[in-house]
Symmetry: C4
Subunit: 233 residues, 4 copies
């Protein structure tokens, strides 16, 4: 067996194993992929295999059209969504999909997560966007492929860049996150779940709660992401 993809297989394995460790998945409800831009492929979790049976060698290597390049297992059923995003977003290195409890509840409610505090603002300056449910035509078509376009279209409509906003809810479904590396994408998945939980509690404690004011949003974003960034607790 080729060792050409050993690096991304090991990274994908490690990143996938973080999902149950962080409490983000029940059974097999999630997957992580890692891209190799030079080779034009990514490594992704095989479909339906319990986390405790995974190994680096069980990761499947797939190209940007979603075709399997190497591996005996079937790639995750969300593979085509990953493929579309890697093809169009040239600066991401990893993608995560989970059905984590609180983020999924917001997706089911088809609501953006309002920016209520600095925990949120330290990571993105917009509400977490929730893509509108797909049209019936897209659903009947190449569903997972279309999910990739659903995600891209939502960002475009709101004039947001995938480089600034690394997380999204797919309406009626569940969250996707991404980042320059798979580790960053996993980090974003855990942050999103916590932000979703805090926003739910905030609205319970104070219905009609005002959002964070613009000056605070800007300050928290810039101290972490601005040209003079200095942030890190």
């Amino acid at each position: 067996m080729s060792n050409r993809y050993q690096g991304i297989k090991e990274q994908a394995y490690e990143a996938n194993m973080q999902l149950p460790a962080l409490g983000l998945v029940l059974f097999t409800f999630g997957n992580v992929s890692v891209v190799d831009r030079g080779a034009g492929v990514f490594a992704i979790k095989p479909s339906g295999v319990p986390y405790k049976l995974l190994s680096p060698d069980s990761m499947v290597i797939v190209d940007f059209e979603g075709k399997t390049v190497e591996g005996t297992g079937r790639p995750s059923s969300d593979t085509k969504t990953h493929a579309v995003l890697y093809k169009h977003w040239e600066e991401i290195g990893g993608i995560v999909h989970t059905h984590s409890t609180y983020a999924t509840a917001w997706a089911q409610a088809q609501r953006d997560i309002p920016i209520y505090g600095t925990t949120h603002a330290d990571h993105l300056t917009a509400d977490v966007p929730c893509a509108a449910p797909m049209s019936d035509e897209m659903i009947k078509g190449n569903y997972e492929h279309e999910t990739g376009f659903q995600i891209m279209q939502c960002l475009q409509e709101r004039n947001l860049s995938y480089k600034d906003v690394e997380m999204m809810l797919v309406g009626n479904h569940a969250p996707f996150t991404w980042g320059k590396t798979a580790d960053k994408a996993v980090y974003n998945a855990a942050v999103l779940e916590e932000v979703a939980r805090m926003a739910y509690l905030t609205e319970s404690i104070r219905p009609e709660c005002p959002k964070l004011k613009e000056s605070l949003i800007k300050k928290h974003f810039e101290r972490k992401h601005g040209p003079d960034a200095y942030y890190g607790q």
Copy 2:
């Protein structure tokens, strides 16, 4: 002692031990059984024994009338409910009963769990049905026996098959789940608890939330259960 039932005793033991591992039971508030169709019996957890004291040999063997065939312990007090379901539903291999927190809260509220998202739709295309509380006459009669009929009657009224819908809430009481194997029934019990939790949160985040649209329900069901099923994360 006969080794004739060793297989189902071991399966029943393993399946019962999954309940505390998955956080679905407090103390002894749950039980799993496994059927042997050839022998016309099932193995079930003994009554009132803490999980950590269980062993394969402590499982009780019972026939479809609820009579003990082998075993020194008293079978679970829910045994007659299991017996009725095995007798009438010829294609199930295992049954689970728990008092898991969120599913039980929905049962206490006497409400079906609305289908709000794809996590739900990946497992069943209907709302999770909640059987109406028993009539006073049934309660005064052979209670656990009648619970079996209460479950079957609820599915019948809604024109649902136990082969498609493998989970149910018994109003005022708690959930029952089943499946072709005991492992699948346990899997369903954990999925039900998570679906119940997400639906509770969804309604808190958006009261009067619309349910999943028909086209999405159909797509998610078919990609997992349809003739061309390909799903598995």
Copy 3:
């Protein structure tokens, strides 16, 4: 040092250690005692000592007036409440006090926990009573002593016996539970916390939810506690 009380010290130690294991206490927010009726004393947790530093020998022996009989530590500050209950309720063997999250929230809301389901009915057929806050005079007096009378008075007003109802909320404060043994009292503390959590969720899922009907309450109580009891999952 006398070994006369070794038995109840060990039982008290074991029972106290179950509180953090069951997730019922933060830091030192709870205590268990075990009585020796023959000797007219009980063993109780010392005051302010973290659970991981406890040992059987650190338990304090106290009489029914709340006076220390043996032990170097100061007995729990709730000792007088325990003493009053042991003195007046001759058939209890153990008492538990915690500030477990959900039960305490109901106590703070000064509401009885309504009987919404069979999980509750399997343990008591009444709403879990919440004693009204103390009068200012009682508060200024011998506070912990009066808490014992507050508990007894509440049961009396509602015409309930401590033999049937083994748990109570003290308004604005937190729960107390008891039983024929300390193990049973600890079991009751964990059941109360779960019943409190389920009732909170039930009301969130269905405001104005009806309570369990009388026939079901009766059935579930009798199958566990009645003359022909057969219950135990």
Copy 4:
């Protein structure tokens, strides 16, 4: 390397490691510092370092102006807030900042946590204060420095002393706690999170719930903090 600050480095390390153990932080969302009054410096967590990679030697030594005195890492980005508080509050020995879930939700809702029960009253007799969000000018200025003044100003406006009230929410942001020692400050952070959770549940169970009456507040405070204090469970 100097051993002069070894004591506070070890204390700071131990106290920081308690935050993940108590479930108060996700990733690096928190920090603890310990002061050495004689030397006029404090030890604080380095910025952005995961808890499992920390060691006593990685703690950074900083003076009351926020300038690094010893250490190779960058001190926590909240360092200036700690520095301001140590400079002005001469009797505190440690400070904790977290983004713990429930306390942060109250901060995001910009509400004080009402005193609903004795769990709260055992620790402070006032509502937990929530400082109003900063003015835009302060935000644009020396932000973390100003956060220290925001905290002090809030106590002053309410006529509260940092010696009586050892916890506060910073509006839109998250909690800060302090105490005579770092261990006490960590204890306060865990107590605040539990009090925040209970108050949230209390309001869900009973909207418009009355607060604890004055006589009970006074009793619980005095038995723990008064001249004749005897409390400790």
